[in-house]
């Protein structure tokens, strides 16, 4: 009983509102890159991942690694709305003794499959989990969400070599290609274009989609799963701050603090 595309779009709105509320309440946090990932997160958690929220440690579940760990608000919102923990817990984000740390902590939060914090490190972990599944004859898949800013880290490209070298087809990377990092345009800073060609040159199967179009995302994940003998990457072209017009495409909303006024205005746009 998977949600319809229209339902997925509605859930994405709920996630966006949760993100804003969490960041307002916390007094800090990363709004822009959480909003850009909303549809990706919703399509994965509501339609793609084989998971049992009432059994977070279920051995055969699909895994998700949030390599762009600053988008933790979007992930926590998805986990709460899926029932991994109480939605009210979202208000404890970034607070002392909270299970919802600034970046994902597998030892504290039900539903988090890997502790990640530093940029560029998640894809290696995803490869390791998938290699282990392969060795153990397990069929689960591992999804890893990358930011395009963190593609500037060298370790990502070491991991890209490893994924192809070991033909880790159980891994599906997703690049939240919102084009902006905290410092500005990722293409001006590091020249990522042509990004699809780079991944192809590393022997990955590439699907490039509109990362806010749930139908395209669903099709891309299906294509990735049916691709054998090599890992896949979904390049999801997104807009940073998506859903809140005055935040869209603006680098300053990477991690700017929300005021009550800004929050009200943003929530109106998402009503």
């Amino acid at each position: 009983m998977s949600p319809t595309p229209n339902e997925l779009r509605e859930i994405a709105k709920v996630i966006r509102r949760d993100v804003l509320t969490m960041v307002l309440e916390a007094g800090s946090g990363h709004v822009g890159g959480s909003l850009s990932a909303a549809e990706i997160m919703v399509v994965l958690y509501w339609n793609v991942l084989r998971i049992k929220p009432d059994r977070p440690a279920w051995e055969d579940r699909d895994r998700f690694v949030l390599s762009k760990s600053h988008a933790a608000p979007a992930l926590y919102a998805a986990l709460a709305r899926k029932g991994y923990f109480d939605v009210r817990d979202l208000l404890t984000f970034r607070k002392l003794k909270s299970r919802l740390q600034g970046t994902p902590d597998a030892q504290r939060t039900p539903g988090i499959d890997a502790s990640v914090g530093s940029p560029g490190e998640g894809l290696s972990i995803a490869n390791g989990i998938a290699l282990s599944a392969k060795r153990g004859g397990k069929g689960f898949r591992v999804y890893c969400l990358l930011g395009d800013g963190e593609l500037q880290e060298g370790q990502i490209w070491e991991a890209a070599l490893t994924g192809a070298r070991h033909k880790i087809d159980g891994v599906c990377a997703v690049v939240d290609r919102n084009g902006l990092s905290g410092a500005g345009l990722t293409d001006e800073i590091a020249g990522l274009t042509p990004l699809a060609d780079k991944w192809r040159a590393f022997n990955w199967h590439v699907c490039e989609v509109d990362g806010h179009n749930v139908e395209q995302l669903l099709a891309a994940f299906a294509e990735a799963e049916s691709t054998k003998g090599k890992p896949s990457v979904v390049i999801a072209n997104t807009v940073k701050g998506k859903g809140v017009p005055f935040m869209e495409g603006k680098a300053e909303w990477h991690d700017r603090k929300l005021t009550a006024d800004v929050y009200e205005e943003a929530m109106k746009a998402l009503s």
Partner: protein, 338 residues
């Protein structure tokens, strides 16, 4: 406390072997016992100690090439699925190049990954400073939950490898690639977190790890001729430190010299000093090692001599701390020497 007496190291012909050979034997032994393990290597070739393992158990071995950060990340992924993962890399490339991966993805998650830092200390000799591992102990010690071990010799290195596989969290072990004296035997007890008294003494204690244990024993033998009774304590586990053995040395001998083949900042000496400074009995101390310098090319033994890590220099340090101990007892302490 483990007590033992060694053959007179001064007079017997000393057998030598690289501690990395103990790693090699330990890995094969673990696999033969049926351990669910995976061994990785970062392009170290024959020097890394993984040769025998990869020959006998190719399906449990992954050659990563020169990609230490990715290798440690993959190790985190494998470890969280329950495998015992041994990651083999040049000491500083593991400890420093991949430090944040070890910190953020392995230690923070409390994962059981054994990092084998090869080319310990000056053991890569002629390669020069970039390839020598002198700061690895300091940076690994700083990581929460990390166990740090410097095997005394090749015989102990095997035991360390076996024991490391039983530690629930992350471990860093440094192994030397050039031959060093073998001072322990298969019968010598080894336990993680425990030091061992290799020679009893009352006037001062030398605490050492790795190849310096042998030099410390030689120094104690030489000082005996000068009527100084020196205790020698081997401290292979730098973290967690055996505080009991440190405190006993302070109380019973009143003067301590530490010696290690690594930086004097943050290593075994640092650990002992931190423990003593906060104990009931702060004790005159001398920390021997590489003093805020880089290494340079030379052969292993030459470099130890050049950097003052010899029995003779240890002897001089012991005389110095004993003099200070006596001055303090007589109320004439002059403070830290210039």
């Amino acid at each position: 406390m483990v007590e033992m007496s060694l053959a007179d190291v001064h007079h017997r012909v000393v057998e030598t072997e690289a501690t990395v050979r103990g790693y090699e034997r330990g890995l094969v032994e673990l696999a033969e016992r049926g351990t669910d393990m995976i061994v990785m290597d970062a392009d170290l070739g024959a020097s890394s100690g993984t040769t025998e393992f990869r020959r006998h158990f190719p399906d449990r071995f992954i050659e990563f090439g020169l990609a230490e950060q990715d290798m440690l990340g993959v190790a985190a992924g494998l470890a969280q699925s329950g495998h015992v993962v041994f990651v083999t890399a040049h000491g500083m490339l593991a400890a420093a190049n991949a430090w944040d991966v070890i910190r953020s993805t392995i230690c923070h998650a409390g994962l059981k990954v054994i990092v084998a830092g090869v080319d310990a200390g000056f053991s890569s000799g002629g390669d020069g400073c970039a390839r020598q591992s002198l700061e690895d102990i300091a940076v690994m010690r700083a990581l929460p939950g990390m166990t740090v071990i410097v095997p005394t010799d090749a015989v102990e290195a095997r035991k360390v490898t076996l024991a490391a596989a039983r530690i629930p969290g992350p471990v860093y072990v440094r192994y030397a690639t050039s031959r060093t004296p073998v001072v322990t035997t298969d019968m010598t007890p080894f336990a993680i977190g425990q030091g061992a008294v290799y020679r009893q003494g009352e006037d001062a204690t030398v605490m050492a790890c790795g190849v310096m244990v042998y030099e410390a024993l030689k120094a104690a033998r030489q000082l005996e001729d000068q009527s100084l009774s020196v205790r020698v304590v081997s401290c292979p586990t730098v973290k967690p430190l055996d505080r009991a053995i440190v405190n006993r040395a302070a109380v019973e001998t009143g003067a301590i010299v530490t010696v290690e083949e690594g930086s004097t900042i943050g290593g075994l000496g640092g650990a002992v000093a931190e423990a003593l400074a906060q104990s009931a009995r702060p004790t005159p101390m001398r920390i021997m090692g590489i003093e805020d310098r880089f290494g340079e090319s030379g052969d292993h033994e030459q470099l130890l001599g050049y950097f003052g890590l010899t029995a003779r220099e240890i002897g001089a340090s012991v005389r110095e701390v004993v003099t200070r101990k006596k001055a303090i007892a007589a109320g004439q302490d002059t403070g830290v020497p210039e």
